[in-house]
Symmetry: C2
Subunit: 674 residues, 2 copies
């Protein structure tokens, strides 16, 4: 059951696709206070053993109890465990255990604070800062049912094309056709599987969206065609800000049409991002989305079939106003005696210009004709840019799926694109964080997602990348991405590249199955990755498990995420078959009974667990997703009787596949299993 | 066996207390290269399964293989897992397993780089940047024997007074007698055990060393006396920099005597720290140490018996020269178009003034009459300040132990003081980091140490502090410390304060035993905390264990370090007795066989494991260390026969106790055990 409560005068967010009547009376479970300025707080006493899940992209545990969060989309690359907010706001929280099970969705485009037992161990407190929002209360018997009901409320998940399940190589720094060809060739010559290469900002002409540098990319269409002939695709980045340069037609057009966000005086708001001073399309308006979306066609005309949207929190390096204030602060401090903490104020002056609250209060959108200050709808910006791109794709070819993933977002964006987990670091703890974010994103509808394998910031190590690839094998978006000035991170740079390649062979051999599981989850409003607590809610050890997940209906994953570890402890809530992979051809299996097991896993080995009574189909190794098939299929499983698997297969592009038309049964007898 | 190799013309570091002849020929195991500028590199191929331990204070695992470190003392509060250097340099590394076991000590006061299989998985590479150093190669059969041999080389560990094993409450912000009395009273009235309160910089008069604010502390001697009458001691902080104020006699004296570090032109080097522009005593000169050490007497005369030395990397907020350069950079950027990364250069300009390499090259020491640029001996500064304080203590009362712990240090400082692990954060990962640093510090001789319980930076949570106290129970320095502007962190601020108090009762009941174990480790050149790999080197699971330690000769600890966890997996390399503590009076025991165990531990419970065939004496709860005794002693253990324990006891102050005079045997029969 879902009830909708309205507070203040909410602005449309686009998150919810069902129209519900407004419920009357107080919100069950919560005590509410509402201040004169609209600030609205909901408080609830948490029970012993109650668990909290959700909030999508965020640091911390699967069970989010004890942490403090803030819905406020933010470009912050330092994902330490105390961070309250990252690039997205996903305001869906689920409470389960101790006799209660309900979910809460704050459909609020502004700042929301979540104190999940941080300040007081047993007190949950949620605050809408602006006080204009719809609150949806969902009640079901199980977390699974709650998540399904929530998807019913917010709409079906985005479907990427099948090739997007191939391995993608990316780096901030790929700056020319020559370089791209060299990266492709380095994979090809070593038979390292690959499906695409992502282009970061370097491909552009002076960081201008929808352009490319004509010297370094003299023939983008030719490059695309050559790559595609080899089964590879290019995936360029698009940033939110448009370079404020009179000679740049996209800027000129936007200015002429009045499509950019404005300051209070009606002039275009400018702030610096990569291209220098830039204007920000008012994506909240449908005509702006349609206009911006069509700009993607410039690249699509050259053969591009996938994009990533970035800097759309929006990230602001500074505004001219903010910079002037910082200069003034610094000048003012120059004469001072500089005792005590003056030097901190000095460094803080320029740190403070980035993504500043003052700047987010300096510009305005138009929403249904009203002028709305940005900070009241801040968290919608990235999702609206995603919607613009999706509009553009539909306009280009309504019958085809395109790849799209975004850094910033809001619930609703899960219908239009996937996401990556932002600018993480080459830290072992971020390998585990990658795992932990998967189910919380899935709960919010984001099924196509993944983190930068090997880590974006900082230098990776060989073993970190290898272990991270072993998790990446199972995540829909499987991308190796790294930052400029860090160590080269392509697989072939490392002494253990053959072990890494072997890991990728497992991805491609499992690809038909992984795609099938993904599509079934998407088309039935389910999750691909679930906490063990959702699947075995009566098992107290499963409920606490923070470093294992179920994958689809049949499997469990438990990656090694500690340096130098030659294995790990794994908890099995029921009997399972361990498959210890070294490559698609080289693996061993072991039947393990319910309970704790030490699972030896050398650096080049990783584990997949298959539930007893289930099997999965392992295909042949392939170097491109298009070649990945079940033509030669080996079932892996521990079966006690003949068993059926629902297998989904389609052309990989159809926009609205009807699941039943693409499902077939695979039947396997116990003795047929490897 | 220890061999000493000399390279270049090393400066004295004070680390080594034994004089060894120089060995000839190449250094065994290593390939060496030496560049014209002196830069000297040692390379070694690591074997499969070989483990690396050591380097004292540093982030990362017990087994440091795969990480990259840098010996360069640095005030950096953001202890993320990628950090190469913290506040100390402890250049002792131990390699064991795969048929080799040896240690290496780089007695080098300058920058040393340690690539422990970071860049190449199987390549160890150590680089002395300056190339003037002694290299000591130690060979023994076991890690234990190596560590003992290393202590033989570098001297006996510092002995704190017994009261330093009591619980200490600290906070940056305690600014008056009234506040101190209130903190003491809040503990007293709730019967929360306590032995002292640390004073951070706030007690000083304008951050001038050896002063106190006479308005806020009108009668420091009276305060000390009142506190001491109740068994409490005050532990004030001393910073490295001396406020450059003509009216400040310590500064004037230092100037007159020429005791401060100088610039190339012979003028006193000044840089800003808390008091504003400050001068830095040239602690590398014995006469300066003697002079500075006696300044502690001003506070000791008021009854102070313990200190902590801070900011002695030395931390430099900025030098006037560095600041001017930053202003010039910023002015230069003001006119620029600010494309691309200009805003990063802007923020970087002022970030770069802090602890800058340029500043460390701006000033000089005098070493044995020679003028030596600071950056060649940078890592000695903190240790030399510690030595100065120790000199002062001996001069004040040569027969008495005083408490001293320092932030920065070098090997050698372990003879003069303890250390805390610097400005950590209220992160769960730092609870585990606290555990991991203990044995690596012990290896380097630092036995009296601990981290800020609850975390220094950021807001703690109730459960984090409670779990952290449960580890702190076992660490010699048990201090709750937090930063200004963070959440109040005294035990009595929290709803679960009674659970926290109960945890402290276990500390005090175990205090006689913990003190006994500490003193025996110190007086026999042993370690208090050891990796399981040292104790059970043949057990592959023990060798990999990264989150458990042995404590002394009889026990093992395995704290819970994950939020919301209601227990944890623990690996027992042999049969052990689990003691599950809730308080000194409330605990249960369970006999557990060798192997893996899920150990349920509710939030208010923590575990101590006692090896089968051993017992430990649990005393009575007490509120002050002086009252902690074994008058009513309960032996805890799983004994198969009558068993003897060597128990050490002294007056808690004697400077050079002879162990055998203070040891007695406690004999216990199996049936006497709880």
């Amino acid at each position: 059951m879902i009830r909708k409560y309205r507070f203040g005068t909410p602005l449309p967010t686009g998150a919810v696709v069902r129209s519900l009547p407004e419920a009357q009376g107080p919100v069950p479970h919560f005590a509410m206070t509402r201040a004169e300025d609209g600030r609205t707080a909901f408080t609830l006493a948490l029970r012993e053993g109650e668990q909290l899940f959700g909030l999508g992209e965020a640091v911390g545990n699967l069970n989010r109890r004890g942490h403090r969060y803030r819905s406020w989309n933010m470009d912050d690359f330092n994902h330490t465990e105390n961070k309250e907010n990252l690039y997205c706001s996903h305001n869906f929280l689920l409470l389960s255990g101790a006799g209660r099970c309900f979910g809460l969705y704050m459909d609020d485009p502004g700042e929301v604070l979540w104190d999940l037992g941080f300040t007081q161990k047993d007190t949950l407190r949620i605050v809408s800062v602006n006080g204009d929002f719809d609150l949806y209360l969902l009640e079901e018997d199980t977390p699974d049912a709650l998540c399904r009901a929530f998807r019913g409320l917010t709409g079906r998940s985005y479907l990427p094309p099948r090739w997007a399940f191939g391995y993608l190589q990316s780096r901030w720094g790929y700056a020319s056709e020559t370089e791209i060809e060299a990266v492709a060739e380095a994979h090809r010559s070593r038979r390292i599987p690959l499906d695409g290469i992502c282009l970061d900002i370097d491909y552009m002409d002076h960081f201008k969206d929808f352009t490319w540098n004509r010297e370094r990319f003299p023939d983008l269409a030719g490059l695309c065609a050559r790559m595609k002939a080899d089964g590879l695709r290019l995936v360029p980045i698009i940033d939110a800000g448009i370079k404020a340069e009179a000679a740049f037609d996209v800027f000129r057009e936007g200015e002429e049409k009045g499509y950019f966000c404005e300051k209070a005086d009606g002039s275009t708001f400018l702030a610096a991002v990569w291209p220098g001073l830039s204007a920000f399309p008012d994506f909240l308006r449908p005509e702006v989305r349609a206009w911006f979306g069509k700009k993607y066609h410039r690249l699509m005309a050259a053969g591009i079939e996938g994009f990533w949207n970035d800097m759309n929190e929006p990230a602001l390096f500074y505004s001219p106003e903010g910079l002037e204030e910082a200069f003034a602060t610094v000048e003012g401090l120059r004469g001072e005696a500089m005792e005590h903490d003056a030097s901190f104020r000095l460094t803080g002056a320029f740190d403070g210009v980035k993504n500043s609250r003052a700047d987010y209060a300096r510009f305005f959108h138009r929403v249904e004709g009203r002028r709305v200050r940005h900070d009241r709808v801040h968290n919608l910006y990235g999702a609206a840019m995603t919607a613009a791109a999706a509009d553009g794709f539909r306009a280009f070819d309504p019958g085809k799926r395109f790849l799209l993933f975004s850094r910033s977002g809001f619930i609703g964006a899960h219908r239009d694109g996937g996401m990556w987990m932002g600018d993480n670091s080459s830290w072992w703890s971020h390998l585990l964080l990658h795992l932990k974010m998967l189910p919380s994103l899935n709960m919010c509808g984001f099924l196509y997602c993944g983190a930068d394998l090997g880590g974006f910031s900082g230098d990776t190590t060989e073993d970190l990348l290898l272990r991270w690839l072993q998790l990446g094998v199972f995540t829909p978006l499987m991308r190796n991405h790294s930052a400029l000035h860090t160590r080269d991170q392509e697989i072939y740079r490392f002494s253990v590249w053959e072990d890494m390649r072997n890991v990728l062979t497992v991805r491609y051999a499992l690809l038909p199955f992984l795609y099938s599981e993904f599509m079934q989850a998407a088309l039935t409003d389910g999750m691909l990755f679930r906490p063990l607590a959702f699947v075995w809610p009566e098992d107290p050890l499963a409920r606490q498990c923070e470093d294992q997940l179920t994958l689809g209906a049949h499997c469990m994953i438990a990656p090694v995420y500690q340096q130098n570890a030659a294995g790990r402890m794994v908890y099995l809530p029921e009997d399972m078959l361990l498959v210890r992979f070294r490559s698609a051809e080289d693996f061993d299996t072991e039947r393990l009974e319910k309970g704790w097991h030490w699972v030896p896993l050398a650096l080049r080995e990783f584990a997949l667990f298959i539930r007893r009574g289930h099997f999965i189909p392992l295909g042949e190794a392939a170097e491109r997703s298009a070649q990945a098939s079940l033509k030669r299929m080996r079932p892996l499983g521990w079966l006690d009787r003949e068993t059926r698997l629902d297998f989904y297969e389609d052309d990989g592009f159809a926009v609205c596949p009807r699941m039943e038309e693409h499902l077939r049964s695979i039947c396997v007898k116990p003795e047929e299993c490897v």
